[in-house]
Symmetry: C2
Subunit: 204 residues, 2 copies
């Protein structure tokens, strides 16, 4: 495309490097910013750079944090004895939105994927093990919940963690698989439906 | 939502001010940038700010430009005697992509819309008139093409320009309305279909 200005072309090139944003959308966004006050672009630009350069990771759970500990780890009203293992920050946010979990997290930072060359040593597994070993007294870890996606990579990672954690004698669990609330039995795939029968829950 | 970091929250707030980008997409983009090299965020941030602060407008046609004249106005291979009137830069790009037009443009910067309080004086109409008056000799303007959308506002603006330009005696035209190439007669709305019959084109 023959852009009217080199500066626009550069901005479009940079914006369209973001996932899910093509050249046309990038151009629309660039022209939108051009129409607005300079202040809006300045605060967007600053916010992005600030986020990227100043955001740190929690030294305990590896979640994104503003400080040494994230605001979940540093909240002493949370149940310190339960750790929910997730792949990334988005999973933490998704679980937090449910308001059903009051324990801590451990962010692996990825998932075992031989195809992409990601092995156990690339994930925060050693730090999970030492964390479990070091929390003592009232804060001793009693349960680890694996909240990984039911994909090939998720299952591989879960299997690896199960083997590792078995030795510690800590209670291990995984989030329930089954028919989504509001989901229709007729349209559920057989594996999910099969799993939902095997893992059936008794009425109280 | 309970963001893990104030910096992320600020970045998400700024990103989601862009049109068509909600909080969820903004968060996805922010986390994407966090995973990539700092360099990517830095160049995105710089490109946006550079574009916003350094882009200027062509003093002749008001298209976006890097210099006093845009690269279309400063290209002396373009037909200087024809001016195509459009609403904004995106329209210029769209027409340029067709490779069917070799004249110049005039970017109005908006469209007459009483509802939004935009009148003729808010658009680059006076500069169009003085431009037509000032181009002399070989460069004297011979035709003005109105390329405005066939909406209420577009038609109002076109009507206003017709009245203004009539006095100059210059040839006036508008882009053809009709069935889009590849469009199906059956699914065309009646107004478009009606217009395509009234404006039928004789075979050579």
């Amino acid at each position: 495309m023959n852009y009217p200005s080199r500066l626009i072309e550069e901005a479009v090139a940079e914006i369209s490097r973001l996932p899910g944003i093509g050249k046309k959308t990038a151009l629309r966004l660039a022209l939108h910013l051009l129409k607005r006050d300079e202040e809006q672009t300045r605060s967007l630009s600053d916010a992005l750079l600030n986020m990227r350069t100043k955001t740190t990771y929690c030294t305990r759970c590896h979640n994104i944090a503003d400080d040494v500990l994230c605001n979940i780890c540093s909240n002493n009203k949370r149940d310190q004895t339960t750790i929910c293992v997730v792949v990334d920050t988005r999973d933490v946010l998704a679980i937090e939105l449910t308001n059903q979990y009051r324990g801590l997290y451990h962010v692996l930072g990825g998932i075992i994927s031989p195809l992409e060359g990601i092995g156990p040593s690339d994930l925060e597994i050693d730090s999970l093990m030492s964390r479990i070993g070091s929390q003592e007294g009232d804060e001793a870890v009693q349960e680890v919940i694996l909240a990984l996606s039911p994909t090939m990579e998720g299952d591989t990672t879960a299997f690896y963690l199960q083997k590792k954690l078995k030795a510690t004698g800590i209670k291990l669990s995984t989030i329930a698989r089954g028919i989504p609330i509001g989901g229709d039995l007729e349209y559920a795939d057989e594996i999910t439906l099969g799993r939902s029968i095997v893992s059936r829950v008794a009425y109280d």
